[in-house]
Amino acid sequence: MPFVYNFPFFSIFLAMLAGIITPFLKNGKMAQRVSFVMIALVGAMSGILLFSLMQDGGASYTYMMGHFPAPWGNELRAGPLEALMALAFSLVMLLCLCGGLKDIFEDILPEKQKFYFIMINLLFSSLLALVYTNDVFTAYVFIEINTIAACAIVMAKDSGETIVATLRYLIMSLLGSGLFLIGIILLYGITGHLLMSDIQNQVVQLASTGRYAMPLTVVVGLIALGLSIKSALFPFHSWLPGAHGSATTASSSILSGLVLKGYIILLIKLFYRVFTIEVIRELHVNNILFFFGLAGMIAGSLRAMKETHIKRMVAYSSVAQIGYIYMGIGMGTGLGVVAACFHILAHAFTKPMLFATAGALSATRGHKKEFHDLKGSAYDNKLAGVGFTVGALSMVGMPLLAGFVSKLYFAMGSLDEPGRMWWTLLVLAASSVLNALYYIPAVIAIWTPVKKGADAPVQKVRPGLAFVFSVVLFLIANFALGVGFAPVIRVIESGLSLL
């Protein structure tokens, strides 16, 4: 076994280790450095792993933890898709933290800052574990770690509003994980295995003989429902705007860019590696996800149009974008899921940029977040203005930007399935128009010059080095995904074919 094959395990372990040593560090600044080094190392390892897997013409492997063979041991699995996601997650995590660094040290009490970074490290390790795991019960345990860490980074900004938002988030999350747990326990009951590949063999047999047809349907339903509550698929999104809209900048970016995606990747892995896409199509679970996705694309955008609070508007737009991803998964065709995976990346590189720049823009107006207070704020922090504009255009689907490519692939994916083509294309077009209807006025508002000396307290903010680094890299990533998408699509395709 080549040495690079150890990297998934090293990544998860390193992230946990960083979380364990952080409480013993002196202050938040030190904790931040440790987290940054760890995330950069994980990113480098994922990059090397991805490169070496693609060198072998797209290879994948399972990794025995502690050399215990199948029924006793725990396993990891890595292929191009997993390595790509781990690489993207580490990059986005680093940029989210950079983009919100100033707010972290302003919003959180000094003695609590290092605890924030413990939660970041644990969150990151659980995300990696969700991406890499090959065992459904391990997935459950890391889902719970993810829940606690995600709630903790929301409540880090210690105000009444954020604690209420955290509690609502926690309750919905726990409902989701409860459903997921009973789902995998029932699955264990009918198949007798916990490792994904073993369950798959049994599921294929059960599906071909027709035994336990009812329990199998219930299991697929419970798991899909649990994970869609946790990833805020419409109509289970009620917790999202509060949690994403009120948290500190970095937390909002991480929650929308990464936490939601971890669950979706797990769902895709379960659909492909446990239930197999044929069984899913036979049970029509994908149709339900498809229609909820379409509904979310419209409903999230409509709700975002009514919003006057910049971060809540961006949060409602996440509901719509999650709808896109579920629509792609729900198409049940190869190209649809490729588009969904690409949109996971596009959204992960765009939405955190919107949150980071929205935070920076509101900092020029005394942290006010209503649009009428933010008029002309782009002139006081030009980089943030440009970042917000490009992010908004990418979400609308402007060519040359990441959002356009995913829309293109969603549209191409719909052509494979004549029955759903019109639905998909119609809703895609309608949703794009709606996106434009709330993003363009927001962009116009921040670029509308105001007379100096008006009642609002205007302060010019010189963007810090970390913020410049983060926004510039997000911009580059957006253009790179929008122009050089072909290799990324190739990696996703080879990753999905190996799942």
């Binding site: 829940t147 009444g160 604690i163 209420v164 309750i171 409902l175 409860g178 326990i185 006010k368």
Partner: protein, 127 residues
Amino acid sequence: MGNLLIDHYEAVAVILFGIGFMGLLLHKNLIKKIIGLNIMDTAIYLFLAAKGYIQGRLAPILVEGVTGVENYVNPIPSGLVLTGIVVSVSVTAFSLALVQRLYLKYRTLNLDEIMILAKKEKGADNH
């Protein structure tokens, strides 16, 4: 329907899961919500323990003279229950800590009242 009578442990577990789930979802009182969460989790452990037990077999601890695998039950379901308990203890502790914080701030455990108070507080901030 016949199976329900034979598998009564599983049937009870599923009913309890439903009770706990609805409690967590619908109760206005935060402490009752957390109790609902615990009922829900416990129901799953009951289900697992019932599924994992085979009548006439021993607990998976080696007894002298009895070596055949067929004499013992599978230890994995019990292991899953233990792991699950650890997870649910930590989640419960976290939720209780959050609820305590909210109570100290708003002096009520009713989620609706807390939401109204939080909205008022936010409105006061903006003006």
